[in-house]
């Protein structure tokens, strides 16, 4: 039995929506964006900005689309002259105290006030020769600055802290045009998810200190990705400028992280810009490591694997993709393999107002993917096996000094890595691979959701995606084998995912049921 729906017309387009849908959401289905500020799909609606007023035929006054449910048979006008004049009026009112800070404001280029003023506002202001309201800048806490002069009092930040973070440290202070956002002086904005207020702020009033004056929005390239911080798998955008990652932001996914990401994940991007990368493949010859072309490197990898009679210990790095892990396992198919993923642990930090959303203790985005692909041993067990192992194959795993010493003592080590590690002595080969920020791949989060990420920057030097190195080595094992030529092909050929393709995952990901027998 389907849920009841209503049918209505918005700007001439007929739509059918579930009963209870607000006009502002119904309008999206009609392809109409109702300009707004205080409304946000992940926050309760106060209808205070008055931007979203629309005309509904037969109603005496214009109504705010964010709190007015769609009614059967309604005829709604978002772009009628009256609605446009109303919006023009609100924009003019907002600009009478809002300073002309665009040249020095971080939000420029991604500012909703700029956007709607440009789209629908007046060219000039009639607010002549009065001083604008002034309040000094306030440091709200670890990463957030509040610039009250720019604040349009949409109250999204207050509602986020009250209802989503459930840590009410912000409030509206004062009254009338003297109002501003106040913070409880005994607290800082240090909630583990408080950085989201910067994204929520439609203007440049709440800004990130980390990003302050770093780059202009229009200089940024934006890439869809998945946060590599923990098993939650928040969807993100990686913003780069001239191939340097300058910012991570959440990307909406109503099934995973809604519109949010935690501050830990947000801040953890500097490693993507490391300059000390391994750029050339190295192969051990006559007691020393020599740079070689990829053909020679791959041939060495294939030969050494082939020559392995005993156990192989596979040490997978915490940010390894399904493609990388899957093709490592494929390369080692039929052999005695003990595979494990290095997973640093940390504190959890739930976002109280959203079910099933938290910074997770396991700081690895693809732990579930690793398990499904067979890398499910405990790290300590695998390390214990190293002295007896015939081959240690490393997939960009991070090592403690003790672990490094253990591995350096192993006879045969092949090191696929992003950064060289002198503690390992002389491996058989050092093969430069890309980070997740430089390749296409899939992570499977703690809920079994396979999600795709895209490359945000160019790989340094000769670095290649790990899956392509491993698959090429696999292909050398038999003449009829053909290595996949793209990450999508590499993923589609992985059995545990039953032929699922990248296209199937889209940009929202898909839950993949765990195959029987996987822990």
């Amino acid at each position: 039995m389907a849920d009841p729906t209503v049918r209505l017309t918005i700007d001439g387009t007929s739509v059918e929506v579930p009963k209870g849908t607000m006009l502002i959401e119904a309008a999206k289905q009609a392809g109409v964006v109702v300009p707004h500020y205080c409304y946000h799909p992940s926050l309760p609606s106060p209808a205070v900005c008055r931007m979203c007023l629309v005309e509904v035929e037969k109603l005496p006054k214009m109504v705010p689309a964010c709190v007015t449910p769609a009614g059967d048979g309604q005829v709604v006008h978002v772009h009628s002259p009256a609605a446009q004049k109303a919006r023009e009026g609100v924009l003019e009112f907002l600009l009478i105290n809002h300073p002309l800070d665009c040249p020095i404001c971080d939000q420029a280029g991604e500012c909703e006030l700029q956007d709607f003023v440009f789209q629908e506002g007046q060219a000039g202001t009639r607010y002549a020769d009065y001083p604008k309201r002034y309040n000094p800048v306030e440091d709200f806490g670890p990463d957030v600055l509040y610039i009250p002069n720019r604040c349009i009092l949409c109250t999204r930040c207050v509602r986020f802290m009250d209802h989503v973070a459930e840590t009410p440290v912000l409030t509206v202070a004062e009254r009338g045009d003297r109002a501003f956002i106040g913070i409880d002086p005994a607290h800082r904005l240090d909630h583990p998810w408080s950085g989201n207020v910067v994204d929520l702020c439609p203007v440049g009033s709440l800004v990130s200190k980390d990003f302050l004056h770093k780059a202009r929005a229009w200089d940024l390239d934006k890439t869809a990705s998945i946060c590599p911080g923990c098993t939650q798998g928040c969807n993100i955008m990686i913003d780069t400028r001239d191939d340097v990652v300058v910012r991570l932001r959440p990307r909406p996914n109503l099934d995973v992280n809604r519109h949010f990401m935690c501050d830990t994940g947000r801040a953890d991007y500097r490693w993507m810009n490391r300059g000390d990368r391994q750029e050339t493949p190295l192969v051990a010859r006559e007691g020393a490591l020599h740079p070689v072309e990829w053909d020679a490197a791959i041939a060495t990898l294939a030969r050494e694997v082939e020559a392995t009679a005993g156990r192989t210990v596979l040490l997978v790095g915490r940010r390894s993709s399904c493609e990388a892990i899957g093709w490592a396992m494929r390369l080692l198919e039929g052999r005695d393999v003990l595979a494990t993923m290095a997973v640093p642990m940390g504190d959890t930090a739930p976002l109280a107002g959203i079910p099933d959303l938290a910074l997770r203790a396991e700081r690895a985005p693809n732990l579930e993917g690793a398990r499904r692909l067979g890398a499910s041993a405990r790290w300590v067990d695998a390390l214990e096996m190293v002295p007896e192992a015939d081959l240690v194959l490393m997939l960009d795993a991070e090592l403690s000094d003790a672990d490094a010493a253990t591995i350096a003592g192993a006879a045969r080590v092949i090191h696929l890595t992003t950064v060289a590690d002198p503690r390992l002595g002389r491996p058989l080969a050092v093969l430069p691979v890309t980070t997740m920020a430089e390749e296409t791949g899939v992570f499977v989060n703690r809920d079994g959701r396979a999600q795709r990420f895209l490359p945000a920057r160019t790989p340094p030097g000769m670095a290649r995606p790990a899956w392509s190195v491993l698959a090429a080595a696999w292909a050398e094992g038999a003449p009829e084998r053909r290595a996949p030529s793209t990450a999508a092909e590499a993923f589609a050929m992985l059995e545990p995912f039953g032929g699922l393709t990248h296209r199937d995952l889209g940009f929202g990901g898909r839950t993949v049921p765990a195959p029987a027998g996987v822990a």
Binding site: P168, V169, T171, E174, G182, I183
Partner: protein
Amino acid sequence: MSHQAAPVGPVFTPERRAQLEALAQRYPTRQALLLPALWMAQRAHGWVTPEAIAEIAEVLEVSTAHVQGVVSFYTMYHTHPVGRHFIQVCTTSPCHMCGAADVVAALLEHTGCGELGATSPDGRFTVVEVECLGACGFVTPLLIDDDFVESVTPAGVPELLARYP
């Protein structure tokens, strides 16, 4: 009621706490006690101190930020010390058109405050302008502390002030 001495002790002495809890029986939420609690704090100390705000937040089980938002909204709560006697004069249109401005001038002169919002050098008075006090037929009305005084004239100001040492 108003005095400049540093506040002594908590808002909720055992006696005041008992009063508060008795009042709590008349409302379904503790948050509803907020305006009455802020009045208790102001009566106790002469103004609503940051310590009082924190104390009230804890006793009422609401956030300090919420209490601050409320205190800054309602203009009758002082968030800083004021003169021993706090004078609020109405100057909205009905009073203004009947001479309220002259009463304000007389008050500023005879209190020694000099300007609105300032406390007199001897700490005795603070004079502020407020909006309609709801006594428009009795111009000029004003509040001195809790005393609502009607029909104040400029000539009557010195005698009125004399009643408040």
